[in-house]
Symmetry: C3
Subunit: 345 residues, 3 copies
């Protein structure tokens, strides 16, 4: 069932095609009280979600015959705490996912905006799914998890191997600004899972670590092994920032994670370490969470996270406006507690 | 049937659960020509609705077993006259309602943004439902009908009694700014209905009567009795504004209303009086309307409203940009005529 | 089937009413790589669509009995390349269409925002449907294809004749600014189709040809004849701009078009000529396209377009931000190539 709970079979002359063509309206609403202690204390409601970012979307598949399918997906984020969308003016948009494509024996081709193959290959090893205060901070600091104005290609699954590439047009006439190339390779076989990602983003980036940062080159590697009683995961990410004056610096991130089923729920824990190459600035983060499934669609959860900076580093918890309000001095620390409800439809 | 016309039964293994779990896409489109005479005349189309504010929403209930249910609602407003949403940048958002929660024998707990328990307890006595030019102006002047970043609790219905509270986090580190506490108590038994509301909103308010107003404390009381041939309603609201210099003033509002079924339609009339405590500024408003139901989902309507200020008061009709364009001098008056179509789906 | 693929029969006591009342969620996602050569070259993804502008909408019909129906439509545009909506702040809105109305033996009455009767009467003769780089530029230069704050009336179809009028309130107190009146008349009979449109838009227009342009008066005429092997079309448009100093100028546009079925697809070609009356500035545009239908809902396509200005004219191709980026000097030219996928649901 999962997220296709309002799966509407497309009306069609052929019962077979009907079974294979569908349009699904789906969504997630996830929020709850959060407490963040940084320089100061702040209490509030989680902005986009504690375990899954709140969203609303439509996706569809049409069987074109001969193994060919048309596919599309439109999905946007919702700030459940206030009802705001994620557009600059507070409106709802489809910037989580917006693509149209074809799928066949050759694999998948899609045009539009979507999560990069690189990000998808490795972010799945974060026990907290890069969401809520427990999220590892691998993918902050100017890293773009999504490509837009992009062409995406995925190979079919071949003996557990799958390869994906994104090419995002910068839409520039005189430079390569905003051009984005990413690659993701995954291997999944029984209990073993491995993922590798590579990104090259041509600068002019808002949110880059260094205001003058022009280019960002990343490679990341992760894996997990499911022992049954627990699933162990590890990941590494190396990001090189290069500005237009030729200066560069690297950010190295490490993560160890574990998830274990306990009753109708799951315990999750992660440890992350972040280190800048051009200074001794670094940080450690520890997260512990429990998700209790009330059904396949609904869960309640609690997460605790602690992040400590050293030598001038300024990593903060993934808590949006609350983390900003709580404040963080250089070398400071933040900790937080988050409880909430997640409901998928 | 009402608003659940696109009720989509959630696919489920259990036929019983299927009957009790659902996701519904619903909406209202309501607009029509409006004429407002203030300092000048202006003609145009009603912005958000003449009898029901135009909206689009999704709501759902999932049966979790043991009497427990997961619930959610996402709903946004639409300016049917232009197609604009209500976000600052003109986009559609979900700021009418955005919550996720649980319902059980203990009552209802919800997280997010929604109409306050106080507003819901009393606004239902306005024959015009606080919508269109006939609306009483009880809930203007900086009053917030919605709480956000909020935790809401409603008791079960006990012998007709129901109690609701909202606590809205201000999300501040150093003050109570924007913190919002409301309480609503209702009693409904046969023809008799009574509602009481209390609000305490900690200032820093945009739209407050006094630009320096910091705190707003409200209590409101209303009731109705259904005689069959007509339903009589009355309400009172007392709002105290207090600025950061310690100055305060009160706004007292009174309303008498009546609705009566006539053929396939309903006649509505209301008289309201508004009075400021720190001056002799006051105003009287009279509204008369007729709604003719073409079906359970569709109606045509006409409303006339007249509002006269005295001693420097500046209350205007509830007609959005048209009321603003028509203009209003201190102690002036506005009157208007509004016709339109309301369609719910 | 067409666009009503998620047609949700409205639940109703009467099976007959059920068949006649419906609410439909529908949409189009259309994008693909585009190359534009103006002063410079630029590559990117088509913004709103190469053959049909990407959109998401809801529309419904309710049978009220006695031949009367309630109707509504809410529809907004989507920039599939980035997921942005079309509101100023990037959010999704319903500014493509937003109306509620009644339909009966008397015709159709609608309140809200929609394409004008004038535009609809003639734009249908553009083989490229006023979409993508192949579109004729008849409807640029400050022309408003949509009316808002509007009352719309269409006659029933009488022996192939149909007449529509729009009246858009300017919502001004002291002037006729933004008032918009349009008229569209169509005749369709077997292979023959003729359409006539007239518009009068009272100025204060953003995007007008002349920054001081106050009033725009248009008449346009088009027709097509279907020979079977090919369908021939022609159109003429005459637009008069008048500023607040009494100066005026005219823009005359001519188009010849042809579409021909070829296999499972369709070849389209158009030639347009644009000429300003107050100078010798003029331009020629030639477009050639092929649309290959993979199903009734999905197509792949390719379009080539060439536009050459003379004597200082500055007409550009219909390619949004890519045409702007590619640049265009006075008397210059632009050409482009566009391929993509269109999927309707």
């Amino acid at each position: 069932m999962k997220k296709s709970l309002i799966a509407l079979a497309v009306l069609s002359a052929s019962g077979l095609a009907m079974a294979q063509s569908s349009v699904t309206l789906y969504g997630v609403v996830d929020t709850g009280p959060t407490y963040i202690k940084g320089d100061k204390n702040v209490y509030g409601l989680t902005n986009y979600g504690g375990t899954t970012n709140s969203r609303l979307g439509l996706r569809g598949t049409e069987d074109l015959g001969g193994g060919l399918k048309a596919i599309f997906n439109l999905e946007g984020g919702i700030g459940t705490d206030t009802g705001e969308g994620k557009a600059a003016g507070g409106g709802f948009d489809f910037k989580r996912t917006s693509y149209v494509g074809l799928e066949g024996g050759f694999g998948i081709v899609r045009f539009g905006r979507e999560l990069t193959a690189s990000y998808l290959a490795v972010s799945r090893y974060d026990p907290f799914g890069d969401t809520g205060i427990g999220a590892t901070r691998f993918w902050g600091n100017g890293y773009a998890a999504r490509v837009e104005n992009g062409i995406t290609y995925y190979t079919p699954n071949i003996a557990g191997f799958k390869l994906g590439v994104n090419y995002g047009f910068g839409e520039q006439t005189a430079s390569r600004d905003n051009r984005y190339i990413t690659l993701g390779a995954t291997y999944d076989n029984g209990p073993l899972s491995v993922g590798f990602g590579y990104d090259k983003l041509n600068g002019n980036r808002v949110g880059g670590l260094n205001p003058a940062a022009e280019d960002l080159t990343t490679w990341q590697l992760g894996g997990s092994y499911d022992l049954g009683a627990a699933k162990l995961a590890a990941a590494y990410k190396n990001t090189k920032y290069k500005d237009d004056l030729g200066n560069s610096e690297k950010l190295k991130s490490y993560m160890l994670g574990v998830t274990a089923p306990v009753g109708a729920g799951k315990i999750k824990a992660a440890y992350s370490h972040y280190k800048w190459s051009d200074s001794s600035a670094k940080a450690n983060e520890f997260s512990l969470g429990y998700v209790y499934d009330l059904s396949k669609r609904t869960a309640v959860y609690g997460t605790y996270a602690y992040l400590k900076n050293k030598n001038g580093a300024t990593f903060g918890l993934n808590a949006g406006n609350l983390a900003t309000s709580a404040g963080l001095t250089a070398s400071g620390k933040q900790q937080g507690l988050q409880v909430g409800i997640r409901h998928a439809f």
